[in-house]
Amino acid sequence: MSTQQEQPQEPESQEAPEDPEMRGTESPQQERLKEKEQGLAQEEAVDESDVEGETVHLKVFRYDPEVEGKQEPRFDDFYVPFEKGMTVLDAVMYARDEFDSSLTFRHSCRQAVCGSDAFFVNGRQQLGCKTQISDLKQPVRIEPLPHQEVVKDLVVDMDHFYDQMHAVEPYFQQEELPDGDLEEQRQSRENREKVKMSTRCIWCAACMSSCNIAAGDNEYLGPAAINKAYRFAMDEREDEEIKEHRLRIVEQEHGVWRCQTQFSCTEVCPKDIPLTEHIQELKREAVKKNLKFW
């Protein structure tokens, strides 16, 4: 018996986004063009002919508290052969595997879902794996996220970020559930749509690192944690009381009112979460609920 038969039309897919949610209106190219027009593009893209078949010049931040010669932060130069499609993460991986195995950075998924590799690339917080070398001016300067303690090379201490995320009680708290094991809670499409963007956060800390307020006030919850609170506060499956509890958490002294709507978090978020908007909306909700002001 043969199993090698051709199988007709298998719509099978791991990801098959037939989903209306997945449809957008603009291609990344169009979006990028628009961004550029608006002057948001971080810098001029290098003409590809400049780099194709050439080497990429990286300047990478180095620091190790233990190792002589690395205790004083310095920049190391690496020259990596360019390949079409190369990302910043590919480039540092190449440098590590071919030139210096002590070059240290976090990374895992290589596809912008694990949130490990937010670096400060040419002066902007971005995911290494989602940043094309061909879009960057050379030399490409790669540093750890600013405003976070450096552990080694590009690795920063994430504990503070995690503490802030945990501080907003980031878990569903609805106790009253439908009867019957197989009965789900109902949620309208509109409500799911409302929280959708906020649920996309990958905990990369790029936003926190870009935020001036967070840099000045260590206790400020920061955009990601506030967004996490938003994700629950706006979810209709939780009762009003829980929502009020959540609003109280974010409108504390180091909460939403600290935000001065500078939009830096929104600009760097690799998941395009409208962070500033979410923060503003929580402020409005808090006012509506007549909660105490700071």
Binding site: T3, E15, S101, S102, D181
Partner: protein, 612 residues
């Protein structure tokens, strides 16, 4: 030393679910993970979770589809348990707040998936895995379960009773990546391995760089067999530079595959005259590789997937996320140029041999998730069947380890009376440690298994400390990256979608060389702080062991079943091969044996041709 009742190694979907279940069953539970939980590769799953939730569907249909999809190499009690428990577990996620996509009436949406007789794939946009992972991590935070994150587990602590079936697991040895401290973790009740897939054994994979088969290798060296390791699923359309997956949706919408000469090779060369680009995953993957091997690949590496003719409007409407992926990860604009694609390793159906309670033949040692083989997927996994496996069997393992009574398992584990020894295949080289000098304990071998139970943990910790010192004190030799690259290349060249007796033998020889070179491995980075060089050197050792079992399994199984294709015998051979391949590590050598597949559970599953 740290001490807990249950220690869960790994914090992907399977590990988190196991930890929550063990905690709920009253055990003092801790998670030890080399990545922070939210970084786990479960977050990359897009498509969905199969569960029979709706009228017109039932667990029997789901179990039937799973058995058929597995090409009759799944064990019926496993497939049935999956199908029976998936609905409750999926709704449990909803009760924990998972943002599933919704219908107009507010219920969770389901969609059709390949190989399913009912649209039962429950999903949350194109980010199902991300949400599943985050929702469960939230529950772990809520319960205050202790997480040791960025702790790398180096070895298991088991005694070395002569028969693995008499061994017991007492804990693990791990090191704190940030500080370099090596510590023991004592597990009073059990250790659950939930370390994910071994995709990094191949040089092109949709899996994360963290998917290095650590749990597989640790269990294997401790004496638990690895099962059906030859069954690896390859995905035909992944991006060449990163392995990022391009959805089958592109071909479903009418995307066309071209070779370098601009020929529509699926038809031109007769790979699939009827269904063309829509042929099944393995047929397309083999066609692509044939094109490249015969010199018609683009840059000798990949083929083109073109969707430009669909028109901008349709592309934007239906395949927008594909444009983003091609742009972000390959620097290609799918609206103006074709996208480069090639086959990539995607999923391992095999894994650590466990029963439906997650238990291995070593008492106190469990495995769940992609690192385990219950076996639910047999020869081939259906899309949307891995995520339910994580939650269903993660939970069972957690409960059982915590002491809950789940009844006697029907599936056997380990070497026992029901097995049959492999006697026919001659091996090209002696696999396993084969008497290599294990000085410094750094060989890819079984060293680290201690003798007496007294002070077992302490001695295991000392052994690992010595190994680290050895690796770090050594000033020259080979670096792991070199060995890893060589290993990955051999696996991709010879144990890929194309498998020939000759090729697999070549791979086994290269693996043997890698093992020999590994004798001389050293860690160049002198720092104890966040030494990823050290961690990766450990991982590479695990990859060698895992790759060897994949190649050995592929060599002995001379038939075509599920995802495993053999040139010499391109037929499914039910007469001889309705059995699992098991490989266990005995005194430094792999021992290969077989156990019959169980096709009878609550229902009976007659092998039928796998066509849809």
């Amino acid at each position: 030393m740290y001490e807990h009742d249950v220690i869960v190694v790994g914090a992907g979907g399977a590990g988190l679910r196991a930890a929550i279940a063990a905690h709920e069953a009253g055990a003092d539970t801790a998670i030890v993970s080399k990545l922070h939980p939210v970084r786990s590769h479960t977050g990359a799953a897009e498509g969905g979770i199969n569960a029979a939730l709706r009228e017109g569907d039932d667990w029997e249909l789901h179990a039937y589809d799973t058995m058929k999809g597995s090409d009759y190499l799944a064990d019926a009690p496993a497939a049935e348990t999956l199908a029976q428990d998936a609905p409750e577990e999926t709704i449990q996620l909803e009760h924990w707040g998972m943002p599933f996509s919704r219908e107009d009436d507010g219920r969770v949406s389901q969609r059709p998936f390949g190989g399913l007789s009912f649209p039962r794939t429950t999903y949350a946009g194109a980010e199902t895995g991300h949400h599943l992972l985050h929702v469960m991590y939230e529950q772990v935070v809520k319960r205050g379960i202790q997480v040791y994150d960025e702790w790398y587990v180096m070895n298991l602590v088991t005694d070395d009773a002569a028969d693995p079936n008499d061994r017991e697991c007492h804990g693990v040895v791990a090191y704190d990546v940030q500080s370099g401290n090596v510590e023991g973790f004592k597990a009073n009740n059990g250790v659950i391995l939930a370390t994910g897939g071994p995709g990094q054994a191949f040089d092109h994979t949709t899996n994360a760089v963290s998917c290095t088969g650590d749990g597989h290798a640790m269990a294997y060296r401790a004496g638990a067999p690895l099962e059906d390791m030859e069954f690896i699923q390859f995905h035909p359309t992944s991006l060449p530079s990163t392995g990022v997956l391009i959805s089958e949706g592109v071909r479903g919408e009418g995307g066309i595959l071209y070779n370098a000469k601009g020929e529509r090779f699926m038809f031109e060369y007769g790979y699939a005259n009827n269904s063309g680009e829509l042929a099944s995953r393995d047929v397309v993957a083999r066609a692509e590789l044939t094109e490249v091997n015969e010199g018609r690949g683009v840059n000798d590496e990949y083929v083109h997937l073109d969707m430009r003719h669909l028109g901008e409007e349709r592309i934007l409407d239906r395949l927008e996320n594909i444009l983003h992926l091609a742009e972000d990860f390959e620097g290609v604009d799918g609206l103006v140029e074709p996208m480069p694609v090639k086959p990539g390793q995607h999923y391992a159906m095999g894994g650590i041999d466990v029963d439906e309670n997650g238990q291995t033949c070593i008492s106190g040692l469990y495995a769940a998730g992609e690192s385990a083989c219950v076996s639910v997927h047999g020869g081939n996994r259906l899309g949307g069947n891995a995520l339910p496996e994580l939650i269903v069997f993660g939970k069972r393992a957690g409960r059982h380890a915590a002491g809950d009574d789940l009844g006697t398992a029907e599936i056997e584990t380990g070497y026992g009376p029901d097995v049959e020894d492999e006697t026919e295949t001659e091996l090209p080289v002696q696999p396993g440690s084969a008497g290599l000098d294990t000085a410094g304990g750094v060989a890819a071998d079984g060293s680290g298994v201690a003798t007496e139970t007294d002070g077992l943990l302490e001695r295991a910790v000392e052994a690992e400390r010595a190994r680290v010192d050895h690796l770090m004190d050594k000033d020259d030799g080979v670096q792991h990256a070199q060995i890893r690259a060589k290993l990955q290349k051999a696996m991709t060249d010879y144990v890929n979608v194309f498998r020939t007796d000759e090729g697999i033998r070549k791979a086994l020889r290269v693996i043997r060389e890698c093992r020999e070179e590994y004798q001389n491995v050293y860690v160049d980075d002198p720092s104890r702080t966040f030494n990823t060089d050290l961690q990766q050197t450990y991982e590479t050792r695990n990859l060698i062991d895992v790759a060897e079992t994949i190649a050995l399994g592929a060599l002995v199984r001379n038939e075509f079943r599920g995802a495993h294709w053999r040139q010499e015998n391109q037929e499914r051979d039910d007469e001889n091969w309705l059995k699992h391949t098991l490989i266990s590590w005995e005194d430094g050598e792999p021992n290969i044996f077989y156990r019959p597949v169980i096709l009878e559970g609550e229902k009976t599953y007659e092998p039928k041709e796998r066509s849809y």
